[in-house]
Symmetry: C2
């Protein structure tokens, strides 16, 4: 039984890690100039997707009860507003460093969790609701965020090099 | 313990079902003519993505040990060859019907499985390898295919309407 928990945690984290690797490969393959391109005509720039994914992953730190969000200053430019609505954004170099830093922090926290701890509630569900909806646990967040990454990776594949 | 298995099966199937719903919404929102458009300049047409996703999901029927693939004639046009390499493809109407049919078949099979049966091996792993790599089970396939859908949904969002 314990075994089943370990297996599913492995499956979920393997999927997450493979998408992180694919995203790293995609962003690393783009120059800072290419990062400024729209991924498709009149769509988000690649740099917006980099900032957006970084901000979404950053918010996973408090959501998974690990530690506070590191870069709340990114919310406006990459979450609440669309691309180009905020003119002052961090440099490509800085964004690349933040992306690596957040994913590294997440990875460190992931590796410390026991299988049982993956089934504990996340921070956006109340203790009351969690009794009724126990699937709203940490593992469920990873499944959702992995698909979120896949969605934008499909778009990032369109950037012209 | 049993409870953890049920919870994770729910999480994985919820993610699958929500992506199926999003894909249905995306394809249903496009006319047959819009389906013929490339999702981005010089990229796959939306109709290719519809055929591709249908063919990939069709192959899940034997992969998950449910039943034989329904439309092996789609492999060449939508899996082994790129878009436009095969000139004769099924009509948009026919592809839409196949997409719904395959996902409906999958759903029927999914609903019959007990939590334990989700942890049985899939058809692409040998019994020998499965002993060493027990995470290569049915549930793992759903996680992977859900992310595959998300990837192409991100691209499908770019079709001009």
């Amino acid at each position: 039984m314990e075994n089943h928990k370990q297996l599913i945690v492995k499956s979920v984290l393997d999927a997450w890690n493979s998408r992180i690797e694919a995203a790293n490969k995609a962003f690393d393959s783009l120059t800072d100039e290419q990062l400024q391109q729209e991924v498709s005509p009149n769509r988000n720039r690649a740099v917006y997707l980099l900032g957006h994914l970084t901000a979404v992953h950053d918010k996973m730190l408090p959501l998974l009860n690990f530690e506070p969000q590191q870069y709340p200053d990114m919310d406006e430019a990459f979450l609440t507003k669309p691309d180009k609505a905020v003119s002052q954004i961090p440099s490509a170099k800085e964004l690349r460093a933040r992306w690596k830093n957040i994913n590294s922090k997440l990875s460190t926290h992931f590796n410390k969790l026991s299988p049982d701890e993956w089934f504990l509630k996340h921070a956006s569900v109340s203790a009351e609701d969690f009794v009724k909806e126990p699937h709203r646990n940490r593992l469920n967040i990873i499944i959702g965020r992995t698909n979120h990454m896949s969605y934008h990776l499909g778009q990032l594949a369109f950037v012209k090099k």
